[in-house]
Amino acid sequence: MYTNEQERWLESGQPKYGDAQQAKKNQMFMKFIIQIVAITFSAHLLALFLPWYCIAITPFAFGYLLKSNTDFLAGFCSIAILWIFNAWLLDSDTSSDLSVRVANLFSLPSKSLLYVIMAVIGGLVGGFAALSGALLRK
């Protein structure tokens, strides 16, 4: 299962410098994932009751609480995912072509671009809100 070197390291109980860096990376990545999950779910909950700009509230809160090096990205991705997923839910279970008509109203050639624009708009608000939350924490 393990190489000899790994076995020796496991037995020694001493972290190796390179691995420590990797572990920290993993930890940061985990924090990023936790941030995304926390923001997405809580933002979803709030969005059921509040106007659209409530998507700034939870990224701000979790930027503050879970401060990472990737707060902006976490905020951006959370809201982008949340919006794309929910729009897709509504858009996939219909024979209406309203999303195509709306794309055309904005002179967009396809509805994928409408999704991209929507994701970027929600993402930017979420991203900057998360960044602001993180910056608030000393």
Partner: protein
């Protein structure tokens, strides 16, 4: 440092939210609050209806006396069952608003000249200009007069008040998330509905159907060309085909009308950028055949009103049932009751009577201040009304409008006039205090011919030809409206407004209006043609009367016996081009075929072997129609190109002139050095048509210009937003029974068989019951309509009868 970063980041966040939560206008193009609009939790995505969408099964509603049951059928047509009249009209308002609120409100805003409140002034102030026009034509003035006339009528008041309450009850339920799509796109909210809006909607129909005139145009023509030419180009009566009613010498009354009226020919020619009036290519068909001609032995009534087609559809199909009333048909969103349809014993349908109900009176002002004008040898004060326009994103715009004894003065140095500082007052029948709500209240309850006749006594405008049939076996036609008694030539030219005696001195009594019951030929029909035989005592004039559809209908109906509903469907979709039959052989004979290009040879061959049917794939129809359109423009270039007001003669008369007067000076094309006659102008029209179709083929990479493709029928959204409209492929054209021109056509096709065992109805319209572009019911009837197919419509006696045709049921529960 960190604090600064925080402040910058927070400011960006808040700035973004502000930016995305507000509407912006970038280079005349409005952009909705894009964050709010695109948010999938509340934005436009919420207007997308899921495949298994159904409306609510119960709604708790304040304002009902009893519970109301609404059964939706598979076309999403609501069948409303109420225990009393008040709940019935309340529910009609509520349910109509659920499906068509934006349209209802927008149409009444448009009628009232309030579009710029929603859209802003628009490119080159186009929306503001439109709004000013509506106010200047006195649309709000007319609606207010109509409301005042309702005050004395308990039933009429009850209908519009309950209907309005229903709409308002629905409006109160709305949050941003549930707003109709267009409110989100245009970023505004509905305002409370009021009975005045019902009147505005009614007036807007009257504007579409009975605001047409050619007085200024005729006045200019008379001044320019003289009497003989006016008589030649614009005869009052083209004497073609049968009138709607022919009862020679059966009119046992006289008119008692003095026989002259002074015309006020102006010193200079009238130059006014006139607001668009009635489109002569809009018309309608209706007919009823008696039981002697049908297979079932019961009468069949058919109707297809032609209008500008739009989305959401102009009509909303509905059934209304309460004690004393069971009616089914189409309603106008914003007006209570059923406008065209049936009860369980009678059916009716409407076409436009065309009659001239507009006059223009020349006003003599005392001086440039226009504060006084001459009337019966006295200087009388004008009434100044300041109209205010709350243009979106701009300061309030004010426009001063002058009213005279005759009515408002729409055109002056501030609006659309280039030279007539003298001023012309606008006299329109619909400025008079009347409303037609009570006519439909009674019609929707009518059981027989007598009820029908009684109901129509309350119908003033828009003047209409009502076809009627009853299960008892009667058929009838009544040309009903409020018609001024006109002196010969009255209403054809601009009149002298300095004497009140020049005004309408009376109205034709209802019992002297044109009507006919059970004629010997076994059917009644109307298609906007001249209404009556020459022995009718009153002078009749109009902008134009129809010349082709009516003859085709009467010819076919005359030859049919043992009629089935399917025969009537076929007739409503008949594509036979009588105009082509009468003109094309003559046109082809005029052509010099020796110098033809290859495409001209091919077109000539196609046209020579054409059967005159404007079917969808008929390429010859494309050539003929293109030829005719170009020919018309070449012939009347003298009239089209001028700054002054002139109007083209009718299609029928133009063809007659080409045949009878080949050397008429109008056939000369002004832009060419040589002198054209009928023959050479026909030839030029042909060449232009062939090359324009060749251009079309190249542009569309198409070897064939099939008629439906070439015509490219289009049903546009009310806001004229291209992506919200649809293209349709249809045969027919104006002057053909299947009256589908590019953007106009049969807005509703209905067939009712009045069988003793129960009334049966078939119908279809170019759209769908939902006004929501995110619903499958937005356009779900269009394919059937374009293919000439019909839906058998449910006409229920009780909610349970819907059975497998039931889509869902909504209980409206009264809430205390």
């Amino acid at each position: 440092m960190r604090g600064l970063k925080f402040i910058i980041s927070l400011s960006i966040t808040l700035g973004l939210i502000y930016l995305l939560d507000n509407r912006w206008v970038v280079g005349e193009k409005p952009i909705p609050p894009i964050g709010r609009f695109l948010d999938p939790f509340n934005g436009f995505w919420r207007n997308i209806e899921a495949n298994d969408f159904m409306g609510p099964s119960t709604l708790d509603i304040k304002g009902l006396k009893e519970n109301v049951t609404v059964v939706y059928d598979s076309l999403s047509i609501p069948h409303i069952f109420a225990d009393n009249d008040m709940d019935l009209y309340f529910a009609q308002g509520y349910i109509t608003a659920m499906h068509r609120l934006w349209q209802m409100e927008f149409q009444t805003h448009a009628a009232a000249g309030r579009v710029s409140e929603i859209t802003g002034a628009g490119a080159n102030d186009m929306f503001l200009e439109y709004d000013r026009g509506q106010r200047r034509l006195g649309m709000v003035f007319a609606a207010q007069n109509s409301m005042a006339s309702l005050a004395g009528d308990q039933n009429a008041l009850l209908i519009v008040e309950k209907y309005s309450e229903g709409i308002n009850a629905f409006i109160k339920t709305l949050q941003y998330k549930t707003l109709p799509f267009e409110y989100k796109l245009l970023d505004y909210r509905p305002e409370p509905w009021s009975p005045l809006k019902c009147a505005l909607l009614q007036k807007s129909m009257e504007q579409t159907l009975c605001m047409g005139d050619k007085d200024m145009e005729m006045t200019n023509a008379l001044k320019l060309f003289g009497w003989d030419v006016v008589e030649l180009l614009y005869p009052d009566h083209e004497s073609v085909g049968d009138p709607i009613v022919e009862k020679i010498n059966a009119w046992n009354f006289s008119n008692n009308i003095p026989d002259t009226i002074p015309i006020a020919l102006p010193e200079e020619l009238l130059a006014v950028r006139k607001l668009p009036g009635i489109d002569p290519t809009i018309g309608s068909n209706n007919w009823a055949v008696s039981g002697t001609k049908t297979a079932s032995g019961s009468p069949i009534l058919c109707g297809d009103p032609h209008l500008s087609l739009s989305l959401p559809s102009i009509w909303f199909a509905i059934q209304l049932k309460a004690p004393g009333i069971n009616t089914m048909g189409v309603s106008l969103p914003g007006a209570p009751g059923v406008i065209i349809g049936c009860t369980d014993s009678i059916a009716w349908s409407i076409t436009n009577a065309q009659r001239d109900l507009v006059d223009w009176f020349a006003i003599t002002f005392q001086d440039h201040s226009r504060t006084k004008y001459l009337l019966d040898s006295q200087w009388v004060d004008t009434k100044k009304v300041i109209e205010r326009f709350k243009v979106r994103g701009k300061p309030v715009f004010e426009d001063t409008l002058l009213y005279t004894y005759w009515g408002p003065i729409p055109y002056d140095e501030n609006y659309h006039a280039t030279n007539n500082l003298k001023g012309y007052a606008f006299r329109w029948i619909s400025h008079d205090p009347f409303g037609s709500a009570i006519a439909f209240y009674k019609l929707n309850r009518a059981q027989n011919y007598a009820d029908f006749m009684e109901a129509l006594n309350y119908f003033d405008a828009p003047a209409s030809n009502f076809a009627f049939a009853s299960a008892a076996g009667d058929i009838a036609m009544r040309v009903q409206g409020k018609y001024p008694m006109r002196r010969p030539m009255e209403g054809k030219f601009v009149l002298d407004g300095s004497k009140s005696a020049n005004g309408w001195f009376g109205f034709i009594p209802n019992d002297q209006n044109i009507n006919d019951k059970n004629p010997a030929r076994g059917f009644v029909s109307s298609a906007n043609q001249y209404p009556v035989d020459d022995t009718y005592p009153y002078y009749i004039t109009a902008t134009s009367f129809e010349a082709y559809r009516n003859r085709r209908i009467n010819k076919i109906l005359g030859g049919l016996n043992n009629i089935q509903p399917a025969d009537m469907m076929k007739l409503q979709n008949d594509n036979y081009n009588l105009k082509a039959e009468e003109s094309l052989p003559f046109f082809l004979n005029q052509l010099d075929t020796t110098a033809f290009s290859q495409p001209e040879k091919e077109a000539f061959q196609l046209l020579s072997s054409w059967d005159y049917f404007n079917t969808k794939d008929a390429e010859a129809a494309s050539y003929y129609e293109a030829w005719w359109d170009n020919l018309m423009a070449l012939i009347w270039d003298e009239l089209d190109g001028k700054d002054i007001n002139l109007i083209r003669p009718t299609t029928f008369n133009t063809i007659k002139l080409l045949q009878d007067k080949p050397n008429l000076s109008f056939f000369d094309i002004q832009s060419t050095p040589e002198k054209e006659d009928a023959r050479s102008v026909i030839q030029k029209g042909f060449s232009i048509a062939v090359s324009s179709i060749a251009g079309w083929k190249e542009e569309h990479a198409n070897v064939k210009a099939g008629w439906a493709d070439y015509k490219d029928g289009y049903i546009g959204h009310l806001m004229r937003l291209e992506p919200l409209g649809i293209h349709v492929k249809t045969g027919g054209n104006h002057d053909i029974i299947n009256a589908n021109s590019r953007t106009k056509g049969p807005s509703w096709r209905m067939i009712v068989s009045l069988e003793k065992t129960g009334v049966k109805m078939w119908g279809v319209y170019p759209g769908g019951q939902s006004g929501n572009p995110g619903s499958t019911h937005y356009t779900d009837m269009v394919d059937h309509w374009a293919n000439g197919e019909y839906y058998p419509l449910l006409f229920l006696h009780k909610p349970e009868d819907a059975r497998e045709r039931q889509f869902y049921t909504t209980q409206l529960k009264r809430q205390r």
